[in-house]
Each structure stands twice: as structure tokens, then as C-alpha cells.
């Protein structure tokens, strides 16, 4: 198989799939004797990525693998294809989602403790329906509340390969440090 053929197959498969494909899924397209190793596939993916750098569609690596996606700067026009305007999510939803992303696994009441307000059932439902969060288990306390965690879909939808790519949270100064500072301040 020529490198050109290999490239065409990988490119064709990624476009036909319409979703991210892993190296393993790409390897499975080939019969045993001609199956490319992971290294060759990564090289092919790099070549494809470079060739699409200036195009409307770009190769992107996300949590579930590699996929082609339409460049963000044409989104305002492209989104007119659909009648529904892309949603803007409420601050309540985004704060809840952030808490789940950074502090997972986390219960609803733990989220409420930090936000200082009740988390509406609607928000949790929307996040579950969007498949951005899932119930990862139950906390062994009375009532066995659900523990929420983010999903691979969440990472994919935000162009992330892993949670580690989320920006670091702002520093929080711990109590003793705060107390010490306050102490100092009050003596000035």
C-alpha cells in the first residue's frame, strides 16, 4: 500500500465517520498483513493535519481520537444551516458544569455548598441530556446521593484531549494564611 493510499483511506474514514476515531479504530480498517502500526498512522495524521491547516476543515485531536471539524471562524455563517440558534448556556449551568469538571466526583449538595444556591433539577437534566455529565456512582452517606462526573463527550465538545487541559483554577489562600494576613493587617 502506497503512503498516498494509506492517507486517502484515513482521510476518507475520518470524513465518513463524522466523529472522532482512535488510532485503534483506524488500524481496524486494514487487514492484518497490511495493517499500519500506530506510529505510521500518527505520521499520516500529522501530514493530513498540515495539509488542512489553511482549509475550512481542520484535523483536531480530542479525547475520543481524531476528527475533522469546521473552523470556528466560519461558524457564524455555517450555523445558519440550522433553524435553531446555537444555545447560550446560563451562568448557573456553566458554574455547575465547572464545579463538576474540576471537583468530580461531586454530589449535588456539595455543588450547592460552594455556589450558595440550590442547583435546579432542570440544569442537571440538561447536562445529562447533553451527555456532558454522568452519574459516576453514589456517595455512601444517608440518601446515597449521586456523584456526578464529566464525560468524554464533554471533553470532545470543548476540543479537549483530557481534563488536564482545562485552565488551572485560581489560587485559593487557605484559612490559616488568610487568618495570618488578617492578623498582620489588624496590627498595622
Amino acid at each position: 500500500m502506497t503512503p498516498e493510499t494509506l492517507k486517502s483511506i484515513v482521510e476518507g474514514a475520518l470524513f465518513a465517520a463524522g466523529r472522532a476515531l482512535t488510532i485503534e479504530q483506524l488500524q481496524a480498517l486494514f487487514e492484518e498483513p497490511v495493517r499500519p502500526d500506530a506510529g505510521s498512522l500518527r505520521a499520516v495524521l500529522s501530514t493530513i493535519a498540515i495539509e488542512h491547516e489553511d482549509r475550512a476543515v481542520q484535523l483536531q485531536q480530542v479525547a475520543s481520537g481524531w476528527r475533522f471539524q469546521v473552523r470556528a471562524d466560519v461558524a457564524p455563517w455555517v450555523s445558519r444551516l440550522w433553524d435553531e440558534r446555537p444555545q447560550r448556556y446560563s451562568r448557573a449551568l456553566l458554574e455547575t458544569l465547572s464545579l463538576i469538571a474540576y471537583k468530580q466526583p461531586i454530589t449535588r449538595s456539595e455543588i450547592e455548598d460552594i455556589r450558595g444556591v440550590t442547583v435546579s433539577t432542570q440544569i442537571v437534566k440538561t447536562l445529562l441530556e447533553r451527555e456532558w455529565i454522568r452519574v459516576a456512582g453514589h456517595k455512601e452517606v444517608p440518601g446515597r446521593p449521586a456523584l456526578f462526573a464529566t464525560t468524554r463527550q464533554f471533553l470532545d465538545d470543548f476540543n479537549l484531549k483530557s481534563l488536564a487541559e482545562l485552565p488551572a483554577l485560581a489560587d485559593i489562600r487557605d484559612l490559616s494564611e488568610i487568618a495570618a494576613e488578617l492578623e498582620t493587617a489588624s496590627h498595622e
Binding site: 475533522f68 458554574e95 482545562l166
Partner: protein, 307 residues
């Protein structure tokens, strides 16, 4: 609430046009006393409705009060913030707004902090300093603020379906290939073991007495005798198979006769013996499964496991 207010989505940042921005007018440089809050705090009733929609609870609101006055979160003048906070709460209650319990709880907490702050520092029974009464409030404000920032950041991140789209092209024509399941012989034997155990056939030698080669021969003979046709008896034997082969064939023929599957026919004495399959004349079908394969029951067993 009015329709107008309902349509107000909670904005990412508080718009400058919100009357709450009037607070900026009373903002003071850190350390400078702010005393004329009440009369500067005029908020049109409509704005109060927006107010409830604008903030994500009391922590968010407190953060706003602190930031609006360029104050350091670590050095909150509790008395002043509490005063402002209570002004709003009081105003809303006088206007009969249903306030979420969290706002009232915060008001109570602020009041407690304020009162404890006025008293001399408490030393508890173990001789430990109880610490700054504001510490817990500050910790919670900080904790909330970092997630408020994280949410803002998340909103700014490109999101599939809004800022970019997954590309898809028409797939080429293809035929779906379903490889038939592979079965190991051991699986088949295990299945047999199960069914035999259920049928309790180990004891009765009903099946095991017959050798398989005879069973196979029976099938082969049946196969060779087309329905309605005659086959010379002698052609069922192959002398090249030797004595054992002939015996097996003979026993197979006898078994078939016994089971009523074939007839042996001899037209007259000493004539050749022929073998005939027992077939109803009108129904010479070999593969018409109509009678055998009846209507399926709903609870029938399937051919495949639902995996």
C-alpha cells in the same frame, strides 16, 4: 414578573446599563470610608426584578458589592458590606419580592459576623483563638469566585455545535458485512452436556448405545434415496469400507426400517431388493418446511444472543 424581565438571560457580565451600576458612583478607594450608601442606593423596582435574575445567589451578589467598590476580598469591611447587603434585602422585602432563602440566610450570617467582630476575640475552653470571624466568609467567597471564573472561561471556550462543527462527508456505497458467529466444538459439546443433564439421559443409554458412524450412515442413506425413487439395496454398501463399514451400513438400514423411514421392497422371490423412502405420493417435497416450521410463538428462543 413581567415578560420583559423573563426574556433577560443571565448575562456573563453585568451590563453597564443595569441601574445597579450606580454603585460605581459610591465606590471608594480602599480604606476610605463610605457612608452615604442608602440614598445612593436607589434602585428602580424594575431593576430589582433584573437583580434577582442577574446574580447566582448571595455569594455572587456579595462578590459584586466587593468588586464594585474595588475592595480586596481579604480585607472586607464587614460592617459596610453587611449594611449594603441588608439594604437590598430590606428593599426587596418591602417591595414584596419572593426572596430565595439563601439570601436571607446570608443576611443572618453577615449579621452574626458583624456582631462577633464587635466583641473582643473569643478564647475557647482549650485556650485556642477562635480566629477572625470573617475567615469562613472569605474562604467561601474565594471558593465561589474561582468557579465563577472557571465558568466564564468555559463559556469562552469553543464549543461543538456553536463555535465549530464536526465535518462529515457522504460515505461511499458499501454493503454491510456481518460475519457469522464462530463456534468452537467445545462450546457445542458443553451445550450438549447441558441438554443431556436436563433430559437426564446419562442413565438411559437411549442415545449413547448407537454409534455415531451409524447415525451418519443413516443420514447418508436417506439422502441418497430421493423421495418416491427406488435404490438397489446392494448399492448402499461399499465393500471398500471393509467388513465394519458393511455392518454399519446394514445396521443403519435396519434402524431406518425400524424407525419407519424407509421400506425394503422385493417384487418377487430372489429378485433384487430395493430401498424406497416412505413418501406420501402427493407430497414429494424434500425442503418444504411448511408443516414443520409452524408459526413462531412470541416467547420462543432466539438464534442469537442479544449481546
Amino acid at each position: 414578573m413581567t415578560e420583559e424581565v423573563q426574556t433577560q438571560e443571565t448575562p456573563e457580565v453585568i451590563p453597564e446599563s443595569t441601574p445597579l451600576a450606580t454603585l460605581h458612583a459610591v465606590a471608594r478607594v480602599k480604606g476610605e470610608a463610605v457612608t452615604q450608601i442608602p440614598h445612593d442606593l436607589y434602585i428602580p423596582p424594575d431593576a430589582l426584578q433584573v437583580f434577582l435574575e442577574t446574580f447566582e445567589g448571595p455569594l455572587d451578589f456579595l462578590l459584586y458589592l466587593i468588586r464594585a467598590q474595588n475592595l480586596d476580598i481579604l480585607d472586607i469591611p464587614v460592617a459596610r458590606i453587611t449594611h449594603q447587603y441588608l439594604e437590598y434585602i430590606d428593599l426587596m422585602q418591602r417591595l414584596n419580592f419572593d426572596l430565595a432563602a439563601e439570601y436571607l440566610l446570608m443576611a443572618a450570617w453577615l449579621g452574626e459576623i458583624k456582631s462577633r467582630y464587635l466583641l473582643p476575640r473569643q478564647i475557647n475552653a482549650e485556650g485556642e483563638d477562635e480566629g477572625d470571624p470573617r475567615a469562613e466568609l472569605i474562604r467561601r467567597l474565594q471558593e465561589y469566585e474561582r468557579f465563577k471564573r472557571a465558568a466564564e472561561h468555559l463559556e469562552g471556550m469553543p464549543c461543538e455545535g456553536r463555535d465549530f462543527f464536526v465535518a462529515v462527508a457522504q460515505q461511499p456505497d458499501f454493503s454491510r458485512v456481518t460475519p457469522p458467529p464462530h463456534v468452537e466444538l467445545s462450546e457445542l459439546l458443553l451445550a450438549l452436556q447441558d441438554v443431556l443433564r436436563r433430559a437426564d439421559l446419562y442413565e438411559s443409554h437411549h442415545i449413547s448405545r448407537e454409534t455415531l458412524s451409524m447415525r451418519e450412515r443413516m443420514s447418508n442413506i436417506l439422502e441418497r434415496i430421493r423421495p418416491g425413487g427406488f435404490v438397489p439395496f446392494v448399492t448402499l454398501f461399499n465393500v471398500e469400507e471393509g467388513r465394519l463399514g458393511v455392518v454399519v451400513s446394514f445396521m443403519a438400514v435396519l434402524e431406518l426400517v425400524k424407525e419407519g423411514l424407509i421400506d425394503l421392497v422385493q417384487t418377487h422371490e430372489r429378485a433384487d431388493i430395493h430401498v424406497r423412502a416412505r413418501v406420501g405420493e402427493a407430497q414429494g417435497q424434500a425442503l418444504d418446511l411448511g408443516q414443520d416450521l409452524g408459526e413462531d410463538d412470541i416467547e420462543q428462543e432466539g438464534a442469537f444472543d442479544d449481546a
